[in-house]
Symmetry: C2
Subunit: 195 residues, 2 copies
C-alpha cells in the first residue's frame, strides 16, 4: 500500500470515525484498513463490469474501473472488442480512453485503475502511458488462459515477452525509407508539443 | 522476407515484366526485389504520415500504414494523442482500429503493418492482438528517445520490461473481490464468443 502521505485520504479516515485519537502507527493502520476496504469495493466493481460486458454480448469477461483521488469513480468499462469490432477495445484501454475524455486530459497521474484481470501488454502500455499511479488487479492471467485467451496476457506484469512474438514476422526496414524514418524525430522536434 | 509462397504476388511479379523466363531462383530474386520495392513504398508512406500528423498538430511524429494482400493500402494513420486527448491514440493502435472498422473484422491476418518507428509495447500488443502477419518498422526507438519520448518504446521488440514498470505501483488484489475475479472466466466461458 504505502501511500500514507495522501492528506485527503488521511483526513477522511479521521472524519469517518476510524481515525480518532490514533497514535501515528494507528493512523497508518487505519489508513491501510481503509485502502483495503476501497480496494475491495472498486475491484468488485471491476468484476461486476466483466460480467456485465458478457451479459451485453459486447466482448470477453474483463472489467476495469478508474478512480480519482482515492475515492471518485471516473469511469467503469468492460471489454468491447465484439461490439466495436476493435481488437484494441480491451477493458483497460477503454477505461483509459473514457477517463481521459471525461477529465479532458491525457494525464491520469492522480488516478488508480482496478482491473478484474492481470492486464495484457497492450493494456499495460496504455496504463503506463496515461501515467496512472496505481494498478490493482484481481485474477492472475492463468484464469483467462485456462479458458482459451491469448497467452500473451501474462507477459506484461511479469516482464517477459515469451508469447507476444510468436505469430509475427518483425523486420527493421532498410534503405532510404528507413533512413527517412530515423530523421523524423530530429526534423520535427521543434514542431509539436511533447506529451 | 521469406514470403515466396504468396501466389498473388508471384503472378504480379511476372505480369509487370520482372518475372519473364526466370529460373526458380530467379523467381525468388524477382520476388525479393519486389518485396524490397513495396517495403520502401509503404514505409515511405508511413514516414509521410508521421510528418503529416505533426503538421496538423494532432500528435507526435509517428505514422503507420496497413496493407492487405501485399498490395492494397487499407489505411494510413498517424499519432492523434493531442487531437483526441487520448494517450492510446498512437499511430499503430489508430491504424489497427481504422483497418478493423474498414474491413469489418478484428482479424488482420492477411495484412502487414508498416510503422515509421519501432512500436511501443501498447502498439505491439495491438499488432499482436489483431493478428497482423508482418511488421516492418523504420526508426529504432532510440531516435524517438533522443528527443524525449518515453523510454518504454524500446521494450516491446526487444522483449524487455526495463522501463514500463518504473512509475506505477502494481498490486495483486486479495480477499473476496480477487477470488470473485478469478472465478469470472469459468463462470462466463459458455456465455460469450471467444475471439
Amino acid at each position: 500500500m504505502g501511500d500514507e502521505g495522501h492528506p485527503a485520504v488521511e483526513v477522511r479516515a479521521a472524519e469517518d470515525g476510524h481515525g480518532e485519537a490514533l497514535t501515528p502507527s494507528g493512523h497508518v493502520k487505519a489508513f491501510e484498513l481503509e485502502v483495503e476496504e476501497r480496494d475491495h469495493q472498486f475491484l468488485t466493481m471491476a468484476v461486476d463490469e466483466a460480467y456485465n460486458g458478457v451479459k451485453l454480448g459486447e466482448g470477453g469477461p474483463f472489467g476495469a474501473v478508474i478512480v480519482k483521488d482515492g475515492k471518485v469513480v471516473v469511469c467503469a468499462a468492460h471489454n468491447e472488442v465484439l461490439k466495436n469490432m476493435d481488437p484494441t477495445a480491451h477493458a483497460e484501454v477503454t477505461a483509459v480512453r473514457k477517463a481521459c475524455q471525461k477529465l479532458g486530459r491525457y494525464d491520469l497521474s492522480d488516478c488508480e485503475i482496478y482491473a478484474s484481470c492481470e492486464p495484457c501488454p497492450m493494456c499495460f502500455g496504455a496504463i503506463h502511458l496515461s501515467k496512472l499511479k496505481r494498478l490493482v488487479y484481481g485474477a492472475e492471467a492463468e484464469a483467462a488462459l485456462a479458458i482459451g485467451f491469448d497467452d500473451f496476457i501474462a507477459d506484461a506484469i511479469r516482464g517477459t515477452a515469451t508469447y507476444q512474438k510468436t505469430n509475427l514476422k518483425i523486420e527493421k526496414g532498410s534503405g532510404k525509407a528507413a533512413d527517412a524514418a530515423e530523421q523524423i524525430f530530429e526534423n520535427t522536434k521543434s514542431k509539436f508539443v511533447m506529451y
